[in-house]
Amino acid sequence: MEFSELIKTATVENVLLSCAGLPAVRGTLCITSHHLLLSSCPGGDVELWLLIRNVDAVEKRLTGSSGTITLRCKDLKVLQLEIPGMEECLNIASSIEALSSVDSVMMMYPFFYRPPSLKLEEGWHQFPLEQYFQQISSQTSQWRLSTVNQDFSTCPTYPPAVIVPAAVGDEALRKAARFRQGGRFPVLSYFHPKNRTVMLRSSQPLTGPNRRRCREDETLLGTILDEGERGFIIDTRSAQAAKQARMTGGGTEPKSSYPQWRRLHRPLERGRPLQESFAKLVEACSDPSLSMDRWLGRLESSRWLSHVKAALSTACLAAQCMDREEATVLVHGAEGTDTTLLVTALAQVILDPSCRTLVGFQGLLEREWIQAGHPFHLRCAHSAYSHARLKQEAPLFLLFLDCVWQLSRQFPFSLEFGERLLLSLFDNAYASAYGTFLCNNEKERSLCKVKESTHSLWAWLNRPEEQQKLLNPLYSHNALVIWPSVEPQSIQLWQGLFLRWIRPSQHLDEAWAEIQRLVEENNTPAKESTGNRLSQSLSDHTAGMENRR
């Protein structure tokens, strides 16, 4: 396939671009293989530089000889293009539609993007699992790094290396994998250094209607617990749903076969209901004419904040089991690639201060979302506006980011990064110039040579000048667990994301800049400048004296 085949009209002049909150501009519209450009006059400023992959829905309206195209983007921005000429309008619209729905990973922009300031290999191997394993092995010898999945044959959605109990051999792992959906056998997700408890994650066991058992799986989970020790299995499905899963070959760990484990069911929404919740919330947010009652009603019926509360509560429960009850925790739902990761990743942000730094958080995302096999390509194919028939889209990653944002509101000094990083991660997960969120798992990434042929987002974000923008000026290291309140009064709508393009934020931005200024002024350089000013006034005087002399 050639991109040029998809582009029916490459340039149109005299196009009017309008976007909420900004003055409309007129200029020349230009479509390239990956971008939509609008420049206000020949050789003039580029007013719009939109990654076509970012377009979620294209709506066209024809009036007489001209037409209007509304572009609803995955980052929730809405743009309008007034295009003279009916044919041009239709051509542009269908070109954008075709280009934005190219599904082949290797055709995507990251494979073509070559910024001069970055090197291709930079950032790709910044967070190897080996490094995390070394941290753990310095404190305990109960775990080992297994390469049983070296060729992705044991579990296609796991990375080549996983951390498993030292007492369990690779052969047993292979057998246990056959007893878990998608081969996702229990692996270590997090080691809590404070009391050396661990959190594991997996997919559901394939108990099925005949109550199948697997000795290797039972031993695997058994060896983790000492005699008399308890473990908690946090199942992210309802007890009912877990039971029903047996009919389709899935199920749960029965008490009789896993005597030391107690199951806790905490149903978390995923899949289509979550995607619909997202769409409903965005729809409510984009209607400023809603009366107060209608607004609250729509906010309620979207159920988004309920999902936020449920995710936070479940993560807190997992964290509490580890930190307070000093118990081992296993988290799984069905496939173990969605709500499971939401809970394990969030629990770590709550428990571990090292996950709350800018770089530590990236490491967490890499370990618990990207390498752990959250299917980003499927889940983030479309955002809230798409009219396309939904396949497997669901905003689990966004829900995670929202929960982290809630934490940052309740503990404004404990996260090293600010809202900007979270927004940028959301944008890049849905449409990006970088390869970090491409594909569904490490196996696919390896097949597509993502790490060889695209740039890593981390390389970009960790450039000093970018980092500066992402840091939270109020941050100060907090070694404690941050237990959030999950009362509905404490859960807020993430206005910075859902109303980013809708609410005027100038005053809030200015206030934030002022906070930044105050903090900077308070830091050492300010105190130094005190000295400078004083010695200045002294030397001025001296100089004056000398001149006089």
Partner: protein, 622 residues
Amino acid sequence: MEHIRTTKVEQVKLLDRFSTSNKSVTGTLYLTATHLLFIDSSQKETWILHHHIAAVEKLPLTTSGCPLVIQCKNFRIVHFVVPRERDCHDIYNSLLQLSKTAKYEELYAFSYNPKQNESEQVKGWQLIDLAEEYKRMGVPNAYWQLSDANRDYKICETYPRELYVPRTASKPIIVGSSKFRSKGRFPVLSYYHKNKEAAICRCSQPLSGFSARCLEDEHMLQAISKANPSNRYMYVMDTRPKLNAMANRAAGKGYENEDNYSNIRFQFVGIENIHVMRSSLQKLLEVSGTRGLSVNDFLSGLENSGWLRHIKAVVDAAVFLVKAIAMESASVLVHCSDGWDRTSQVCSLGALLLDSYYRTIKGFMVLIEKDWISFGHKFSDRCCQLDGDPKEISPVFTQFLECVWNLTEQFPQAFEYNEVFLLQIHEHVHSCQFGNFLGNCEKEREELKVKEKTYSLWPFLLAEQKKYRNPLYNPDFLPELSLLEPNTVSFNFKFWRNMYHQFDRSMHPRQSVLNLIMNLSEQNKQLEEDIKELEAKIKQRNGQLDVVLVKEHQQSAHPAPVALKTPPCFKKEQPPIPGNETVRTIEGSNTADNRYSELVSEFSKAEPAVVSLEYGVARMTC
């Protein structure tokens, strides 16, 4: 005090309202003439002013004792468990008596003694001078004058003595107009906008019925519109819903007929009455007070209470008002029924949007004194200072504060004061500790001799204004007298957690940005002052040196090298800057405070041997 039978009860438990595990602290309960005091085992004191108590309830006896629930007007709810029923009964009866006062003279303000001498007391009352305020606005001037018509409260008992009216409104017009207005509250000036030469005026509803007219009242309105040289028409805003206003016509009241008044543009803005507001707040408190609510129950409860809809309606009305003034230079007359509730809300909020002075600490005090206190908002009735008609109670002033809070959220740099200031004012509107809010109008306060017998709140707030200052305040945020234009889209109005859950610490962010920023800016100011001080010292020293040098110059050809010495002022120790740990303490960061602990604690009960949960308050030192 004859009402107090038991002054001290030991072994009383104070339950945490939002804790699932029925967490409690044990301590001693004391009953004094003015306060209920609880001191827990860690010596933490909880003071509750009797006047703050809105309701006391005795719940059915339990195995651990007799539960006593106290609801306060500042939205604090405390839940005690008293071991013996007789003690509980005594305290219950005493509180019932003590929280309901029959006479003004028994209110706390008349016994409160802050150790000020008489001249300080007098000075305190002079701090806010409304005559000065009208002068600041630019009246009297060519169009507006001070009227002495109400000097002896003869025309309107609930208005202040000093009122500003159009110069062309003669006394007969005033008298005639007042007879045609409910409670005699004729149109008077509330705010004058210097640049636009437009005025906000206020009054009560006309006694128009279905067809009555009053020429004087028509003249009065004409005088107001003529007092504005830049615009010929004026707006009359009836802040009530149209239906309510029409219903009033049957009772001989109503609203202005546009045909009878020349050049008026009449507008309803639909703010509900005090009864609707009272029950709306009641519903809101029921929702926010429920334990373990789901997000959806909370949101639907919030919606059903209608509270935020009412807040939005008030702000919308104020926005309508200021647009007329700022965009059209038109004067606006605002009224509701009696002109002391919704009218006060809309006039004061409008002035706050128009004039940055009211966004300063002192200016806000002036605004409250002017539009609420002097124009006779019935604080006594609305806040239930005396045991009276429960139908008169209404959170009208609370709504005003909440509107202001919503504006501060939208414009973080436009206000000199912070949220704590608003909460503190709310606290004292109900505390009856200071004389400002006692009674229903100026006349009543004069009769009570509040200025001699009680103290004014404002000097106390001003003295501790450091606490109330918004560290992000930028006085040049907008040019003077330029309009603050809030966005009133629904999503801009939020539930005011710090008001309704002020005392439920577990629900708050565990780290306060406001406190941190306040400390930072305080430290920065301190540094800045140190620099100035040091610079002054250097200057002074250098000045001395100059003199010496010049002298030396005259005397000797070889002066000693002076500037190379280290100036001693450099050795001055920096004032110790409070370390971060004082600033960054997280309160209540404890799993036990939170809902998610529920299951584990239930689960733990089965196997108690394994459980050793520490419920200490996590403290962070960094």
